[in-house]
């Protein structure tokens, strides 16, 4: 993934949620469907105005299930589409997220995470839904998920999310949280011609009843509706031509593996991580999203005190950057995993490290509260001595 610096068309001081919506628009999103939910509603408010300004469509649906169904339908109608919600909404959407995966439908789903489970704490930023997009829907599947830590990244990563969704015909998640969504910071907007956009590979002409429109590890062409392509789309287990076969295990085996490989085979293009001060580090701190902000500041402080500590931050959390974490585990003695939950990504770090380094899980003292620098610094000092 490229982190190109672009020339600045304009600068604004805006909320993360608004930046996310503007990122979607910059990426060419022409359809937004959503249901009100704290702390994501501002995305819907903004899209309800902007979509009509951009010749797009906005619909406030009757529930979150309708929202995800609408964006999948719209994607088959040929437009880039998005929804935004929080944990409870994703829970409702999970069944159709699976449908988006198996029908290989490009779409973007934003989760502005809040305290859970259940109704929880709508305005407390939490990282409690990290496993939800990957394991929440039934069955075996891959998705892509990006974790922004600032309003600028809400803009940038949403553009990336659309690009990945288009390129790999897969639902892509933005896993923000209540603070990243609501904080106001400077956001730089690029010029339109400097934004590189991916468009889905389209089937141009009808290729016959058994045309291959699914299950290509290098992404099959998508038969957009209304072009005479006679698309045969179903959520049942199907073959490359879309025809269902639910009784032959060989067909299911092929379907599951091809869909999975479609993502895993292209990890190099999909996975992005950010490393700082790791060249001579003895300890690395693994963190993502809002927590990364606290970790980065702490690492800067620690370095100024002469501590050999670095930061490893996954921008892409799914697919999990396994190889990168394994490499890291061979370079450092200890990895401290800082995440605002009871250890959702921690087991994946531990597994990837495979005993090469010591892995310690360090949540904030109070779940849902921000880390204090001392919490992390003290742990670093404890580990280094």
């Amino acid at each position: 993934m490229q982190n190109k610096k672009y020339s600045i068309r304009k600068t604004d001081f805006i909320q993360g949620n608004i930046a996310c919506a503007e990122g979607a628009i910059a990426a060419g999103c022409k359809f937004f469907a959503g249901y009100p939910i704290t702390p994501a509603s501002e995305i819907a408010h903004h899209m309800s105005r902007r979509m009509f300004e951009e010749e797009g469509t906005f619909i406030q649906t009757e529930d979150e299930i309708a929202a995800i169904a609408n964006i999948i339908g719209a994607s088959w109608g040929g437009v880039k589409s998005m929804t935004a919600t929080s944990g409870p909404g994703i829970s409702l959407m999970l069944e159709n997220i699976g449908l988006a995966v198996v029908t290989e439908t490009p779409c973007v789903i934003v989760n502005v995470q809040r305290g859970g489970p259940s109704t929880g704490s709508p305005t407390i930023a939490f990282q409690g839904d990290m496993l939800q997009p990957k394991f929440g829907s039934h069955g075996e599947y891959q998705i892509i998920a990006l974790v922004p830590s600032s309003p600028q990244e809400m803009f940038d990563f949403t553009v990336t999310a659309f690009n990945k969704a288009e390129r790999y015909r897969v639902p892509v998640f933005i896993l923000a949280d209540a603070l990243v969504g609501h904080m106001r910071e400077r956001v730089d907007f690029p010029f339109e011609d400097e934004i590189v956009l991916d468009e889905r590979k389209k089937l141009e002409t009808y290729q016959g009843t058994h045309q291959k429109i699914f299950l290509d590890e290098d992404v099959a062409p998508m038969p957009i509706f209304g072009k005479g392509l006679k698309a045969n789309i179903t959520g049942s287990t199907h073959k490359e031509d879309g025809f269902r076969n639910v009784s032959d295990p060989k067909i299911m085996d092929n379907a599951i593996k091809k869909l999975s490989n479609k993502i895993l085979k292209h990890k190099e293009d999909i996975i992005a991580v950010e490393e700082k001060y790791l060249e001579d580090a003895e300890v690395a701190i693994f963190s993502y999203g809002l927590v990364y902000r606290a970790v980065l500041e702490t690492v800067n402080t620690a370095r100024s005190e002469g501590l050999k500590v670095g930061s490893f931050r996954p921008i892409t959390i799914w697919p999990f950057p396994q190889e990168q974490v394994e490499e890291l585990s061979k370079k450092v003695k200890t990895i401290i995993v800082c995440e605002n939950n009871l250890g959702q990504i921690y087991p994946f770090v531990k597994a990837a490290a495979n005993g090469n380094a010591k892995i310690i899980f360090l949540p904030p003292k109070i779940l849902g509260a921000l880390y204090k620098q001392e919490e992390i610094l003290n742990k670093i000092k404890e580990v280094i001595s």
Partner: protein
């Protein structure tokens, strides 16, 4: 099945016409009515998309019809169809879903689409039961019916789906039975051409599961004759008392409203107005 004689509607199929429905199932009659309706309208089949739900009726268009077909999750066909129609308003979008898909799990999407008056045609195959999964009670199954989940007789009153559609704001509503295949075809034609939310309820025989409930197991002919006996045209029903209408099936074109704002038109209007500012 190798069909030696070509049926006039064969041109609408992806390959051989081969419905794997039970013997005597009403699905095939409804499929013919839909295709004959389309045949009589001057419309290119490629401009029609079908969205179907889970249940036997979902198999009417998917995968058989040789045009864009989207077979989705249970109860959600109308929600997917809404998104598709909003993104590609030049298409005609027809939904095929059962009474469970529309009236149970999909009830919310059904009433909101009617309220929005989005230009969709919903053909609701109402067999009064959840057939595919083994004959469980549906929101349309009559009170006191013995089904696989109401072994002592159902204790809930059923929906009248057409009335529900009308109350929710649908602007074209018709109800027929599979016995009334020709009238059904005519109403489907009108529904497709109607700009707004059209709801066509078809009382259809499920000889295996619902036939069992009413003592006509595997006897589709008796079920069709039963529809013939019980059907009362709306024009006649208007002058009948509630008592006289007990156990009757009111058929006909129940509601037709023109000049109600349709959702894709409203969206176009908003875009025009907003861009003018």
């Amino acid at each position: 099945m190798k069909n030696t004689v070509e049926h006039p509607l064969k041109k609408y199929f992806r390959g051989e016409i081969n419905y794997t429905t039970c013997s005597g199932c009403g699905n095939g009659i409804i499929s013919q009515s839909i295709l004959r309706a389309i045949d009589e309208i001057a419309i290119i089949f490629d401009q029609i998309a079908f969205v179907s739900g889970i249940g036997c009726s979902g198999w009417i268009p998917s995968p058989s019809f040789n045009t864009d077909v989207l077979h989705v999750t249970h109860g959600r066909s109308i929600a997917f169809a809404t998104g598709l129609k909003l993104a590609a308003p030049q298409m005609k979008v027809i939904v095929c879903a059962g009474d469970g898909d529309t009236g149970a799990i999909g009830g919310n999407h059904f009433i909101h689409a009617a309220r929005r008056n989005i230009d969709l045609t919903v053909v609701c195959v109402n067999n009064g039961i959840f057939g595919m999964t083994g004959g469980q009670v549906a929101p349309t199954t009559p009170y006191n019916s013995v089904t696989t989940t109401t072994p002592y007789g159902s204790i809930e009153r059923p929906f009248d789906l057409s009335n529900l559609a009308i109350a929710a704001g649908a602007t074209f509503v018709a109800r027929w039975t599979t016995y009334h295949a020709r009238s059904l075809k005519n109403s489907i034609k009108k529904a497709i051409e109607h700009k707004g939310f059209s709801f066509i309820e078809v009382i259809s025989q499920c000889p295996v599961q619902y036939g069992k409930v009413i003592g006509m197991r595997n006897d589709p002919v008796s079920m069709l004759m039963h529809y013939k006996e019980c059907a009362v045209n709306i024009n006649k029903a208007k002058n009948m008392s509630a008592d006289e209408l007990k156990d009757k099936i009111i058929v006909g074109e129940l509601v037709e409203k023109k000049n109600i704002p349709e959702l894709t038109d409203e969206i176009k209007r908003l875009r025009r107005e907003v861009s003018r500012k």
